[in-house]
Amino acid sequence: MASSTRDFVLEHSTPAALKAGSDVLTVVVDSASLNGDLSWANGAPARTWRRSWLDTFDWRLYRAGLTLEQIAGRDGAELLLTGRDGEVLATQRLTGSGTPWPALVSRLPAGPLRELIEPVAGIRALAPVARATSRVTELRALNADAKTVARLAVDRMAVTFPARAAALPRLTLTPVRGYGRLTDRVGRAVAGVAGVAASRGTALEAALAVTGRRAGELPGKAAAVELSAPMPAARALAAILTAQLDSLEANVPGTVRDIDTEFLHDLRIAVRWTRSALKLCGSVLPAGIAGEFRPQFRWLGDLTTPTRDLDVYLLEFDAMAAGLIGAAVSDLAPFRDYLERSRAAEYRKLSRGLRSSRFARLTADWRAALAGVRGTRKGPTVAQLAAERIATAQRKALRTGQRITAASPPTSLHDLRKRCKELRYLVEMFGPLHDPAQRWQAVRELKALQDCLGAFQDAEVQRTEIRMLANRMLADRTVPAETLLAMGEVAAGLAGRQHAARAEFDSRFAAFAGPASQARLASLGRAGAA
């Protein structure tokens, strides 16, 4: 029974009658003359709703064209999922006054709504991105048989989050199924009322707009940093690093509240970018800055590593358990408990660290240091810096890879992985200087090799860790023999994955080292350097 709605807003130039204090519906009825056989009648009694729009921190639903809203009124609460044209895709009644947010999608009741959003939201939690109270009154447009052909709702919305503000009254015209053409006539009449204009955005976008925000905005997107070839390198680097600091700080509250695992993941990405930028390009910053902050960011990286490693284990646990052949899934339960307990302990340390004065001082000092660099006019241009560093990183990655033979130890592949990461960071960091198509292709080819190296190294680390965890669990005398045997099977599975990745390595590296891929990277290195 999906139907598309047409939305209107009352613009700033509101009709004179409204300025005199008349009700919006009265003005519409008086001004939107429905010629011929159509007429207006009162609709359902006025209702008040509490509305919360939900999305992941990185706007996954919004970017997929979905809007998820929790509506609570006198009759209880429900979730409403709509598509790009406002069409209703699914609804879900909620018990009580609704779900306490933030929450993972898996916490929602099973049903079509959850099935639609689960693949989009993935492991990210849903949290309110805006809240408002809506007072809705309704008119019905009737045909000659006094049959309702469309409903016109007037929504007076008071936004309460992310800030308090009143939105312009919003008119939503909803056709009754099978009466689209008559609804078009009604729509034209409503659009003809002085001061009424077709709305270009959704109610969520309107709610955010009055608070000065925009849906889909992500803090610290490096690609969004504006770079131009002649820009001084130090200034460009400061802009890139400030964007990363924005991203880092934006992910701190979600990490401290432990909303979902990806806040920490994204925080770590910002830290890794910062560390790599300082290592690879820090020499262009004024003297002393790189030297002062590199150890600080190493501390921050080390602070976050244990929790993230355990997160990865727990996220992959079900897939790991599904791969068991000899042991039962239940045999791994003590292992899972142990991982969860360890994760809780590590998370406490991480949370303390992120709330510490050392962390607060680090981010404040770092922001001040970067602000000081932004006026720099001296030194090489960003294009020269990008060309030189990309070319060096490309050479290093190629050489490190070419030295790897069948007899090389796992550490040699790990070294190559690190070189590839550095190259990738540089290509992405200076991305705005390059042709998007060339960059996309270069990143794709590099990523194919990185995925293989990642699979190899992750399996290596997890095998080592599972051995260490087994020893610790044995020392704690908490582990049954069945669990150790099941963990052994998991370790064997990891070894299998590692061998498969190693077998794939030669062909992946050959593709990366091939003339087409290398020429593409070299062209990025040359771009703008002249």
Binding site: D145, A146, T148, R177
Partner: protein, 250 residues
Amino acid sequence: MRIFATYNIKGGVGKTAAAVNLSHLAARDGHRVLLWDLDPQGAASFLFRIKPRVKGGGKALIRGTRSVGAAIKGTDYDGLDLLPADFTYRNLDLLLDSAKRPERRLASLLTPLKAEYDVIFLDCPPSISLLSESVLHAAGLLLVPLIPTTLSVRTLDQLTEFVAGFAGHRPDVLAFFSMIDRRKRLHTSIAAELPVARSDFASTAIGALSVIEQMSVHRAPVTAFAPRSVAARQYGELWQEASARAGLTG
């Protein structure tokens, strides 16, 4: 998706009144409901203020040149849609006769609506024909309104026997007394005895009440314009029995 059909070989026994009120109650319970007005007289369409007209007529629907979904109209009630009647439905028998497996045709037309509706009501014209046979094959529960006379009980037995002869899917049958005149001793005695003696009778009976006749004045279900009336209460109890029998509620 549960399919209910209000059916009786005789006319004027309360089929349309039952279909209109029960479909309204089903929607009020939160189900997504479609009522197909199969009667060319279009009484159910009239009661919902919807023109009894389908583009291309019954021919387009039966032959599949127009999708059933495209012909559906929304009623004034949340969750309740109507597939209107059309005067060409008087020829549905002939159209079905030229279709492949005519007795299964209605069921196959309804299959694409499974994702969209939880409940479908078929309001059938009074006859025994290829159309009624197709309705009997599509329906999960036949709701048979009967005026309490010996003759109408005999008709029910003939219907039950006919359905029992179907190969494969057989609809469940639930008869109920309709248009009971409390002043007539025969009505009250039959209506009191049969539901106790037979499991295919609902214990709820619908009275011969003037508020039901007023539906054509209000052009709305009794359950909407007179929700506290005796008739609305009776339809409410009948819906409880029918929905439980069809497995919609406990």
